[in-house]
Amino acid sequence: MAVLLIAEISDGELSMDATAKAVAAAKALGDVTVLAAGSSAAAAGEAASKIDGVSKVLVAEDPMLGHRLAEATAALIVSLAGDYEHIVAPATTDAKNVMPRVAALLDVMVISDASGVVDADTFERPIYAGNAVQTVKSNDAKKVITFRTSTFDAAGEGGSASVETISAAENPGLSTWVEDKVAESDRPELTSAGVVVSGGRGVGSEEDFALIEKLADKLGAAVGASRAAVDSGYAPNDWQVGQTGKVVAPDLYVAVGISGAIQHLAGMKDSKIIVAINKDEESPIFQVADYGLVADLFDAVPELIEKL
């Protein structure tokens, strides 16, 4: 059986972590061919060819595939679909945008955010903000799947797959890219960081969120946020952790001024060690925290920064 895996690429660069985690999930399903698509994708394809478990890489470079607009990217994937039983990708926002479109064009159901592989037809996925885990068996001829990266360990490097160049499918010409607003940061990526420090509404302002960032930098951590912190403008949207934001499972997750709503827990409760700092001892966050500190964050965080 053959698997087509859509590599995660932004601005021509392979997202190694997300892609290698999806490869780890997909290896069990069959021979993995990686599709590297973008306006520039050759370097990303080259990088993907080194992932253990990849047997072949297809590189499709075309301006219309830039920024991975859904219509052109889905058309390309569908044009290749005939050769594969499984079409998979890491569950990034790009893939969540494209893969359901691919599935509908193939008249199959999409399996979103799969967290486990039981067999070639059967997958586990969290539902209801992770409050239940469902095992589903697909009756479709082809399976279109996005894998929740936080539950798979990345495949190693050391492979040497062959790389082939292919052309893009016809451009449906339905959308164009205008601009990206991406904040450059030297911090680790939120979804692959070993340590994440997140701030919530309790932080109180954008200015005071600097305190969260300072603690993060002390720990070499990525910065996360609750929805309330993002809605209030303390933190950018791409920091949101939760049911409808990013799902993380670092070795250490520090939640500061976050109450622990189920929608937030959905994005972090698989972290190895959870620390919560909250002034309200009744906060639900303490039910999932390994170490809970009932304290005012404005006292505790500066002290913590000093003592670490």
Binding site: S10, L69, A70, E71, T93, N97, P100, R101, V102, A103, A104, D107, V108, M109, V110, I111, S112, D113, P126, I127, Y128, A129, G130, N131, A132, V133, Q134, T135, V136, K137, S138, N139, D140, L174, S175, T176, W177, V178, E179, D180, K181, V182, R227, V230, D231, N237, D238, Q243, T244, K269, I273, E281, V288, Y291, G292, L293, A300, L304, K307, L308
Partner: protein, 252 residues
Amino acid sequence: MKVLVPVKRVIDYNVKVRVKADGTGVDLANVKMSMNPFDEIAVEQAIRLKEAGQAEEIVAVSIGVKQAQETLRTALAMGADRAILVVASDDVHKDIEPLAVAKILKAIVDEEQPGLVLCGKQAIDNDMNATGQMLSALMGWSQATFASEIAIEGDKAKVTREVDGGLQTIEVTMPTVVTVDLRLNEPRYASLPNIMKAKKKPLDEKTAEDYGVDVSNRLEIVKTVEPAERAAGIKVGSVDELVAKLKEVGAV
């Protein structure tokens, strides 16, 4: 322009969900149900477009059990003009899959010819994040998912999307399907007079068969279980104790 807004009846986001003992799913009998929060944002956006003179009519559609008409009444009370209920099951525990929903929506879009379909980006029950993209695919239309800003200019819509790296703005050709994210707007509450008025607004009732769509599952549910519980932790009394514990387990 007509705007079509699909709305789903889901368990209220504040309700603690319980997995049924027989593993077939989550217990939905006698629990509070509400409109999917993302769909409220979609309805709100449609109303704002109408208020801005960019939309003439808002049609809300719900596909599911008969009780979904309550969800449609909520949409009407918020400001939708009329509603279509497609009864596709009489079992509250049956979740109609996004592919089947998209097929029914396609049939309705073919009939109604809206210029814009506004969907929630995901339903908080099955967390699929798929219906809007699937409808767009079946229509052969453009799509703009995870919208935090929408500006319609002639036959184009400029949409800012919440993506992993930050924000991306794209321009899509109309007609189009837009799926909405949390930061697009803050939905209004329906006022009491509007709730009363909504009772008189037209609500058409159809069935999945009327549209010739087979709603049987493509994904067979093998089992549903509670997630693994985290072992209870401890409270530490001071920052010093916290640092000591973290050092002890090698976390820092």
